[in-house]
Symmetry: C2
Subunit: 637 residues, 2 copies
């Protein structure tokens, strides 16, 4: 039985949370972690190309030498989970920075209940005459007669419950009608009078984060909000990595992961909603769902292939999917509930951006507005009532914890605000009031601005040879130590430092955003001075210090009072679509009037991008209000 | 391990086909036969009430004494399968009459291609411009542009295959559109030009038999026809027994059995269609399905509860179900194919009757027509262009092999024509040219007529004490031996005889049909003389000798040239609906103009029925053309 012996399973236990899993030989630690339901960061999708999945195993394993693991780390027994092969029972310590945990997610958005309320579902309470031998028409036809509308179809699954509902309710029922656009059907029948309750869900599917609202469709209020990491995160941090993973056979898995994420949120919302409403609601009570997300996420969610989105000429399967049925999406809601997706404008300008615009109201204004949504990707919209142009720049995950060695997402342990003092030491704030583990996006913007003010980096973001302890040479060029190892969170094996490579990634990201804004203005023959309002949307913006973002040349230099922060505009827009026929109409109008500009083949963008690869910009004149010294002083808290 | 010992499985082997199955103790032989996939007749659903499931087991079993098993049979080791408990390994011989096998099923129907052809699906071949970076609209929107129609929805499953179809076809695709009434969607996309092929299926779901046509929707021809027993037959012969079975937890099983039956037929049709078309077609090529069936069968098929159909006031869940999706029905066709059911008019006047009418054309005639469909139930329609009234009489399965000890369905081994000679011996024809096993419906009508002519029975169908060998006393009153045991098929354990109880069942059945016809005429104030045409529909009619049916008082006594036989009108009507928008409209008009008369609470019917419990009728004057002697002579072949 040698075959059986060699196929013996090994037990892998993960610390600190103690979950164990039994795996077959030749499994990697990353694969084992997935089996165990532990989300280890793997930006590259587990190909050994990102170096994010560091773990410290104890027991029998083998791992090749990796350029991502420093000599110091290797000595401490640290390896990449995606490369380490399980060869016996193991205990694996997942380094805090490698662990994708709960984090500070943006859920708030501005209060905006569109009136009059006109969701695409409504209820009607009907008292039907009881069937007799002299009047024994079919139950469905009796409903039609009670409604005064004949011929309304009813999905088979709902129809199956009809006879029982009618009789349980003693010939008094509440029916839910879905009718909007070409949609016209009976979604549900409940016994008795249930007309005082009508619930829907609005969802924002982000690459990193998924947020959902449970909405009372009768008064427009949000009953509860829940958010979670997109469970796909452990299969690649950005959309490109995930699309590659999908094409290599992972499509089904990615679909399942994001569906699980959303269904998990709905479960929490239903539970919380029951508590708050003081009654008992179930997922069957959810009869209407509105979703906004970037094009790639909604493709994954619907199970649509993304290959042609990834490859030139970047063609989505569909912009509009119409009202899909919850059952088609395995959505934890009434199976006949209809799901409306905010339409995508292009492969890289999705329904989330259309929803941002809807939420911002810029499509109703006669004044020029610039909208910037910085998430895992950056999307920019310029326009007003009569026209709109959009583009996407691959800002990359530099501000969300990717591509920067000391970067992490805005979760507990992340430095979100930082100052560099005169002696070049640092003062900072850590989310969750813990010892620091890494630096999130807003902290990185602060850090770049401060390092520049203090002369640690030059206009090209290169670290200067200042001959102090905190500046030293590393494998990735010079590095500046933000905090010493002994003051970091448990498990730290080296100092928290930012290096030349990190800074170049940050510089490219900020240059892409600024370059995209400039390109849109230039294409449309507009000047910054004509822009009456700059709208910042997305989770990133919430922790952001606008003054410092201007200081490093990421956002245009206009008076700060012109900046307006709308929070999660994507979720806000999805909620508006859920609640209002007028907003659904506007959503389609935004889609129709919005032009998409493909920056990847645009020479103007390339030139604007290159000019922005300086702090703040090649042309200092573009940032008149922020001469460096004064800016640094003024930005201090 | 006593528990394990007592739970030891026993092997039950069925003869003659040799299939074996392993079952747990306390299983009945009927249950074991179901496990083995052998269809044993069980009209009552396995409750020991019909006596149809006779088997001859060898080995360890226990069985109570049954009144259905004669002393002679009991001595031969015959028991009821539903009552016999397996107590050890067994070999079970299934008596030929208990076995539900392949049989002669009516598949032919009159040629009737409605022109112009207008199925609810059509194909369009599109040459799309190839996507470029300058024109990279989504695939779905590119289709819409090519079609010149925007906003057409596409079911998610079809949408998933869109990108691949477009690119495989090198930007040339054929799309299938479903559009009729409120239905308007893209059902399918195929690469290349496939516009020369468009296929649909028409199905008649009978209580006993299911028949399906593979139809070429471009020229209206039937490519292939297939038929099979409704696999539900082994769970009860009539609709009442099946509804009881359903309510006792068998609903899912009944749904599955009829779905299996239809899917099996489609598989055969696809195979045969491939052969005849000289190409290769698959179930994915079936994009349109039209179904007619009685109300109870279509409820079972759709998985709708039938409880309220069985109990007064006999309320169906729905008359019209709209265009359901093949995927909702697990139908072996393109998942986006739409399935149209002919609407039911009442619990006992189903879509099959509406389809009969459509097929007969009586709804277009200004002359009065009487339509009689005798299947497992009898349905009657009286009317013309401007009005129509329908009713159902529980004719019962007497003419389909049920409720008559020597009865069987029209399958191989059944006597379908019979004469009683002067010496009271018999001459007969057997289907399949075999030794006889039993007598099917047309044979029973012949037999009753002949026995009456020869004075074997009186006007009340009571067997006379003629003191010949063939007439003797049995447990069910007197019996007349149709054929002696030694001339019967293998396995016969007794003579083939008809007894007083059988004759009373036949009398009640014929009285129900005639009574229903009379009641409709009386209610509408019409006389038989006003009826210009009598249409006979259904499988039963195919083997029927109209003259003898008149002779026993089952059908009205009008000149035989007024009788018209349309064969399987239900299938014909379903095919018409598949092919023609005009016929679909007519189908709904028939539904709207048809009144339903509930006979079960009708005093007139009770009186007409009672008067018909004679041969031919209490009122001999109603059958003037058929004085007995002449009729007998005239009916001889």
């Amino acid at each position: 039985m040698e075959g059986a012996e060699s196929d013996r399973a090994f037990v892998v236990r993960f610390a600190p949370d103690g979950r164990s899993v039994s795996v077959r030989p030749r499994t990697t630690i990353l694969e084992a972690s997935r089996e165990a339901g532990i989300s280890i960061d793997a930006v590259c999708g587990g190909e050994g190309k990102c170096g994010r999945c560091k773990v410290k195993p104890q027991g029998r394993y083998s791992a090749p030498k990796s350029s991502f693991v420093s000599a110091e780390e290797a000595a401490a027994g640290i390896v990449l989970a995606c490369e380490a092969i399980v060869e016996g029972d193991l205990t694996v310590e997942v380094l805090p920075r490698s662990l994708v945990g709960r984090h500070q997610i943006l859920t708030k958005s501005i209060e905006d209940i569109p009136r009059p309320l006109s969701p695409w579902v409504r209820k009607e309470y009907l008292r039907l005459p009881k069937a007799t031998i002299w009047d024994n028409v079919a139950d469905l036809e009796r409903l039609w007669r009670g409604l005064g509308i004949g011929g309304l179809p009813m999905p088979l699954e709902a129809l199956r419950g009809l006879p029982n509902a009618i009789r349980t309710g003693n010939w008094q029922v509440t029916i839910t009608l879905s009718n909007a656009d070409s949609l016209d059907e009976i979604t549900r029948v409940e016994p008795g009078d249930k007309s005082a309750e009508l619930l829907g869900i609005a969802v924002d599917i982000g690459t990193t984060t998924v947020v959902a609202d449970l909405v009372d469709l009768l008064d427009g209020t949000v009953i509860a909000t829940a958010s979670d990491y997109n469970h796909q995160v452990s299969r690649g941090e950005d959309v490109i990595a995930r699309m590659m993973f999908s094409e290599e056979g992972g499509a089904e898995e990615l679909m399942t992961l994001v569906r699980e994420t959303i269904n998990g949120l709905i479960e929490r919302l239903v539970h919380e909603g029951s508590r708050r409403l003081g009654g008992s609601i179930t997922d069957q009570d959810i009869v209407s769902v509105s979703i906004a997300g970037n094009t790639i996420m909604t493709h994954f969610y619907a199970g649509l292939p993304t290959k042609h989105l990834r490859l030139e000429p970047y063609v989505p399967v569909a912009y509009h999917t119409g009202y899909l049925k919850a059952s088609e999406l395995n959505l934890k809601a009434n199976s006949a509930a209809r799901v409306l997706f905010s339409p995508s404008r292009a492969g890289y300008v999705g329904g989330d951006v259309i929803a941002d615009v809807l939420s911002s109201g810029m499509h109703l204004s006669s004044k020029l507005t610039l909208l910037i949504d910085v998430g895992t990707n950056g999307e920019i919209v310029l326009g007003r009532k009569d026209w709109m142009v959009s583009c996407s720049c691959s800002a990359g995950p530099a501000f969300e914890g990717g591509e920067v060695s000391c970067g992490m997402r805005a979760m507990d342990g992340a430095i979100d605000k930082i100052r560099v003092d005169e002696d070049l030491s640092t003062t900072y704030h850590v989310l969750g009031e813990k010892a620091p583990v890494g630096i999130c996006g807003s902290g990185l913007i602060d850090l770049v601005a401060e390092m520049y003010c203090r002369g640690i980096i030059d206009r090209k973001a290169r670290i200067q040879d200042l001959r102090i302890d905190r500046i030293r040479t590393s494998e990735s060029g010079r590095e500046y130590v933000v905090e010493w190892k002994d003051r970091l969170g448990a498990g730290a094996v080296s100092d928290l430092a930012i290096n030349d490579a990190d800074l170049q990634n940050l510089l490219r990201t900020k240059a892409a955003i600024y370059g995209a804004c400039s390109t849109l203005l230039r294409k449309m023959g507009e000047n910054l001075s004509a822009v009456s309002s700059i709208v910042i949307a997305g989770g990133f913006g919430y922790h952001l210090d606008i003054a410092r973002a201007i200081m490093i040349g990421m956002f245009p230099d206009v008076p700060q009072e012109k900046y307006r922060y709308i929070g999660n505009g994507s979720l806000g827009g999805a909620r508006m679509a859920l609640l209002s026929a007028k907003k659904r109409k506007e959503m389609n109008e935004i889609f129709n009037k919005m032009t998409y500009l493909e920056l990847s083949v645009d020479n103007d963008f390339y030139s604007e991008f290159s000019s922005s690869l300086f702090i703040p910009h090649t042309d200092i004149g573009k940032f008149p209000s922020a001469p460096l010294e004064r800016a640094c002083e003024g930005a201090k808290d």
